[in-house]
């Protein structure tokens, strides 16, 4: 499902995957669309969430606050944030500490590791 700046799917393993487009901006409007899409696709279940943020050029504070909040926790069992490299990972981890999401969250720079962690939590 294309949301304008991000694409979302529920894959065969039951992971809700968010893939941000290259040079995209995560603002509160897009974050809201992603949350709504997740709610629809999850259909009342809590699913793992994989966010591929490698293309994100900017993430507004309002959007960060929204995605770290209880609204996401309703549908997300845990969230893996996929970033481009070690520097991005450090930065991602720093902001995880700042925003303290209401659900288990980890930063990965390797897609397989991220999926494995998500599925381990689902089992």
């Amino acid at each position: 499902m294309e949301l304008g700046g991000a694409r979302v799917t529920l894959d065969a393993k039951g992971i809700f995957v968010v893939t941000h487009a290259p040079q995209s901006v995560l603002d509160v409007e897009l974050a809201r669309k992603i949350l709504d899409a997740h709610a629809r696709l999850a259909a009342g279940r809590r699913t793992p969430v994989l966010v591929d943020a490698r293309g994100v050029r900017r993430a507004d504070r309002e959007a960060r606050v929204l995605v770290a909040g209880q609204e996401v926790a309703v549908n997300a069992s845990r969230l893996a944030l996929l970033v481009g490299g070690s520097v991005s990972a450090v930065i991602g981890n720093f902001f995880l500490r700042v925003s303290r999401p209401a659900y288990p969250t980890r930063v990965f720079s390797d897609l397989d590791e991220a999926r494995a962690w998500l599925l381990a939590g689902a089992s």
Binding site: R57, V87, S88
Partner: protein, 553 residues
């Protein structure tokens, strides 16, 4: 260092210097550098947000501080163990008239009048133990005499007691006035009812006596007896007439009366009522002084007051009758149950006689209350005055201290053209920046005067008595510009205080304030001539003008 890293460092420096809205575009092809820029942008945004939150918190704190200081309640925090004051708001400081620094660290219990201290301490100890959160009504002392209702609560960490006092002094004064008025109304109703019935009975007695005299043999013993009965009945009728006057049920013929003229016209008769050894002075100011009242009744009031003054000076002394105009402003009117804002004619009778105790003062208007010996009045004179003045929509105030004489003040609403002249002076009330020391033993008036003077720029330190003022002013480095003092006070009167401070060169000028009239107080020898003087009650404008005038070199 690459250009790209330089841009990152530049952004970092901008963020570090506290620049609001410091951001950079992540243009680098290097993924790590771009990630750094994205991260720094987010960091800068978080810092902006935190700064905004902090500014908002500071605004809230400022608002809370202002609210804490501006609230009309007296707020105070004390150490729960020692009961010593750790924090007070501006209202508390103003109300008790003590500098904040002098309050901090002081035992809160000592702030109450002596009779309340044990109760206050017990109650606060209970609060500290978590056993209660209300305290009985207490009276703050020191520069106080302020009646307060109090609630107290223990802080969450149990180290402090937060005390909230509401000043109810004015309410209690008005309640007291209301109770007195209700008592007088009840007594008046009773007296009026009795007088009506008595009048009917007396009419029967007088008529029957008259018939019997006609029928009795001329020159017989019966005629003499009937004449005695008739005289007694007529004296009884005069008494009932006075009772009716007190109960405001007398038939009256109100008309516009010029009080100054009435006083002048009555002066000769009044002189005949008193001994030659008593000096009688009549002063009429601010005419015309028109009121609506039955003139014969006002004459009766004047006679009764002068007769009382005559008896108080006991053969030798001075009596002063003054008629003048006063204007009650809303603030003053709010302190007097029967007063309304506007112009009044004041008719005052002062004497330098024995004076009265507060207990006696509380009863003087009650019918048949008298301090005179048997055969010297039945105790209806002031009752009649009270009823007559009330019937004319006025009120009467007694001001007296044992040994200091008495001033009886009759206030009657001014009518006619003269009533339109409500202010003596034109233009805004003057203020200033001089240092003032105020000594006034009446707490609510002291607080009011302090507030007014401070609001107009003066630096005011207020005291409840002369001894405290003397100690404070003597200890100061520089002399104060003006001492404003009540004249008649317990322990040390205002004149003595001013004399001592003048001798020590601690004051530059003095303004005396008194419930007694200016002429009276000077003539009685309490104050020297040419004294700056303000007579109570006064409007706020009159106070400010009197202060400005007294400060004039």
């Amino acid at each position: 260092m690459s250009i790209e890293l330089g841009e990152v460092l530049d952004l970092l420096m901008r963020i570090g210097s506290g620049e609001e809205g410091a951001r950079a575009e992540p243009r680098s092809q290097d993924e790590d550098v771009a990630a750094l820029v994205v991260g720094l942008n987010m960091l800068s945004e978080e810092l902006d947000h935190a700064r905004g939150m902090r500014a908002e918190a500071e605004r809230s704190l400022t608002d809370a501080r202002e609210a804490y200081d501006l609230t009309p309640a007296l707020l105070c925090s004390v150490d729960a163990r020692t009961l010593r004051i750790v924090r007070v708001n501006d209202t508390f400081v103003r109300a008790v008239g003590v500098e904040r620094d002098a309050l901090l660290g002081r035992d809160i219990v000592s702030m109450f009048v002596e009779r309340d201290r044990a109760v206050a301490e017990r109650a606060l100890r209970d609060v500290a133990a978590g056993a209660r959160d209300t305290i009985p009504e207490l009276t703050l002392d020191r520069r106080g005499g302020i009646q307060v209702t109090t609630t107290a609560s223990l802080s969450d960490d149990q180290t402090r007691i937060r005390i909230v006092c509401s000043d109810v002094t004015r309410e209690r004064q008005l309640e007291s006035q209301l109770l007195q008025a209700q008592k007088m109304q009840a007594v008046g109703r009773l007296a009026g009812g009795i007088a009506h019935d008595f009048n009917n009975l007396l009419a029967v007695i007088l008529t029957s006596t008259s018939f019997a005299r006609t029928a009795a043999p001329h020159g017989s013993r019966v005629v003499e007896d009937l004449a005695t009965i008739e005289q007694a009945a007529q004296r009884a009728a005069a008494l009932t007439s006075q009772l009716l006057a007190f109960s405001r049920q007398q038939v009256i013929r109100p008309q516009q009366v010029e009080v100054g003229l009435l006083v002048r016209d009555t002066e000769r008769m009044l002189r005949r009522l008193i001994d030659e050894s008593i000096e009688l002075t009549v002063v009429v100011r601010d005419g015309p002084l028109s009121v609506v009242i039955d003139p014969s009744q006002l004459t009766q009031v004047l006679i009764n007051l002068v007769v009382n003054a005559r008896d108080a000076v006991d053969g030798r002394g001075r009596i002063l009758i003054e008629a003048s105009r006063v204007v009650h402003d809303e603030t003053y009117a709010a302190t007097q149950l029967h007063a309304t804002p506007g112009p009044y004619v004041l008719l005052a009778v002062s004497d330098d006689g024995v004076g009265m105790s507060p207990d006696v003062l509380g009863q003087i208007f009650e019918p048949f209350f008298t301090t005179k010996d048997a055969g010297h009045g039945v105790g209806l004179g002031l009752s009649v005055c009270y009823g007559v003045v009330q019937q004319a929509s006025g009120y009467i105030v007694a001001c007296s201290e044992p040994g200091e004489g008495t001033t009886m003040k009759v206030y009657l609403p001014q009518v006619g053209e003269a009533a339109a002249i409500v202010a003596d002076e034109a233009g805004p009330s003057p203020g200033g920046h001089e240092s003032l020391v105020l000594v006034e033993d009446e707490p609510s008036l002291r607080r009011l005067m302090t507030r007014v003077l401070e609001d107009t720029g003066y630096h005011v330190v207020a005291f409840a008595n002369g001894a405290e003022a003397l100690e404070h002013v003597t200890a100061q480095d520089a002399p104060v510009d003006l001492l404003i003092t009540d004249v008649v006070m317990p322990q040390m009167d205002g004149h003595e205080l001013a004399t001592q401070l003048r001798e020590r060169e601690r004051i530059r000028a003095v303004l005396y304030v008194s419930g007694y009239t200016s002429t009276g107080i000077v003539r009685h020898g309490v104050l020297p001539e040419d004294t700056a003087f303000l007579s109570k009650p006064f409007t706020l404008d009159q106070l400010l003008r009197a202060v400005r005038e007294a400060l004039r070199p």
